[in-house]
């Protein structure tokens, strides 16, 4: 466990927790401005969370521990990812966990916890959300792993630190067809996993069309705060991952205060820009019919497979 790793392991989760609601606020603000609105301000999600923490906790009748612990698991999985993935520093606090597969599986575990909570309520909506979420998760998995495959093959490792370092040392790789194809596939995956348009509509008010939201309809107060925080964190984690897999520049490679500061700033800027672009892009697309989503995901799988093929034949 290196000093840099420890610094990263402390700075990153703090940054992600503090910054994620702001990222969501920023994305809402971008959308509001494009719609001609003034918007509630970047800090509004933090105000929402603060208020939710002050509210009453409610246990819906008939729910079990699964319902109560799911928000904790959801936040905890994301928190572990925030600690181990090289966001600010190239070295990981817990290197044997900073594996792409492990990180992906951890994020999936969070989604599973929430899906089980949705089923645990025994409501039609909870089950519906869980079923949709799991269908999407099952179909996202191939794209995700094949895209990871494409990225790892050139490095010969799925260790995130190794991938990031290798890109730092050989920047030319980023503009290779492999990277570009894998990037597009990963973007589709991120859109699907974080429930953005065109897969899910984060601001829908219609129970019957919801995916993520349908599972959390029964959560109130602090539990809801955790769920909201976790979904914001997942969004930043995914965007951070995307940023550092393809453009790791700025990340701290040594444990000096200046390097870490630059690393933090670089991450904030990168994730902010990606979030802004994602929010702006969302304005221009509509939500797909539920059973067109698999077609989108199949298309992205194909891109990922192409990326692997390219990595072999162009290597």
């Amino acid at each position: 466990m290196s000093a840099l790793g420890v610094v990263g392991g402390v700075v990153q989760p703090v940054l992600i927790v503090a910054g994620s609601p702001l990222l969501v606020g920023l994305m809402r603000q971008v959308r509001a401005r494009l719609e001609g609105r003034a918007g509630a301000g970047v800090a509004q999600p933090w105000r929402d969370l603060r208020k939710l923490l002050r509210k009453e906790r409610i246990t819906p009748r008939g729910t079990s521990e699964v319902f109560r612990f799911a928000p904790l698991v959801l936040v905890a999985t994301t928190l572990v990812v925030a600690v181990v993935v090289p966001f600010v520093a190239t070295e990981s606090a817990v290197d044997p966990v900073a594996d792409l597969f492990a990180v992906v599986a951890l994020l999936a575990l969070g989604a599973v916890a929430l899906a089980l909570a949705g089923l645990d309520t025994g409501t039609a909506f909870g089950g519906m959300g869980a079923s949709r979420e799991m269908t999407i998760l099952a179909l996202v998995e191939p794209t995700l792993l094949v895209a990871i495959f494409a990225l790892s093959v050139r490095v010969g490792s799925t260790n995130l630190g190794a991938i990031v370092s290798s890109t730092l040392h050989d920047p030319a790789r980023v503009i290779s067809p492999v990277s570009l194809l894998a990037a597009v596939a990963l973007i589709v995956v991120i859109v699907a996993e974080t429930g953005r348009i065109p897969v899910d509509n984060p601001s829908t008010h219609l129970e019957l069309t919801m995916v993520h939201e349908a599972m959390v309809l029964e959560y109130a107060g602090p539990d809801l705060a955790l769920v909201e925080l976790a979904s914001a964190m997942r969004l930043s984690v995914f965007l951070g991952l995307l940023a550092n897999l393809f453009a790791p520049w700025g990340i701290a490679t040594e444990a000096t205060p200046l390097a870490v500061l630059i690393g933090v700033l670089a991450l904030v800027v990168k994730v902010g820009v990606l979030g802004g672009l994602l929010a702006a892009g969302e304005v221009f697309v509509a939500k797909l019919r539920l059973f067109r989503v698999p077609e989108l995901l199949a298309g992205s799988s194909l891109l990922a497979l192409l990326a692997v093929a390219a990595s072999f034949f162009l290597a």
Binding site: A32, E35, A38, Q44, R54, E207, L217
Partner: protein, 161 residues
């Protein structure tokens, strides 16, 4: 895509400058919410006129969201109920249940004259009463239907922004 972008650019900002913060007292519990008020709308028997103006209040011109108020899908996520219309005999229980589903601290806003005092529907056989007769009301908004400005003013009493 380009044409939409042109439309967005040409239209520019639609939201009108915010009026000054309304005078008058705020419900005590509203201060606990700290500038974030999630709202669940309940139509307890309105003619849907008030819904039109609530829609306007949250439309881009009046932009109720900029003051920290937001419509949400579930009463579990809500801090305030926005109740419109007289409460019909069929909606009294659903309204009570919705109120019960909201976690404390919670507020109720009665929107429109029907919600306040049954309006023109007073005395109809299907009417159980005004909102106050079924759940406690914290803020009332006058009008039939209230103008969006009045609704925004009522919301700002909750958010304090």
């Amino acid at each position: 895509m380009l044409s939409l972008w042109r439309k967005i650019r040409r239209t520019g900002r639609v939201a009108e400058p915010p009026p000054p913060l309304p005078e008058g007292e705020r419900p005590e519990r509203a201060a606990l919410l700290g500038g974030s008020v999630q709202i669940r709308h309940v139509d307890a028997g309105s003619c849907n006129g008030c819904e039109i103006e609530i829609g306007s209040a949250f439309g881009p011109v009046h932009d109720g969201e900029r003051y920290g108020a937001r419509l949400v899908a579930s009463p579990r996520h809500a801090d305030a109920l926005l109740v419109t219309g007289v409460v019909t005999r069929n909606m009294a229980e659903p309204l009570r249940r919705t109120f019960d589903a909201v976690p404390a601290p919670k507020l109720v806003v009665a929107v429109g004259d029907c919600a306040r005092n049954c309006g023109v529907f007073a005395g109809a056989y299907g009417v159980a009463g005004a909102v106050r007769d079924v759940v406690p009301v914290d803020v009332e908004i006058h009008g039939c239907p209230p103008r969006p400005e009045a609704i925004v003013e009522g919301l700002r009493k909750l958010t304090g922004r």
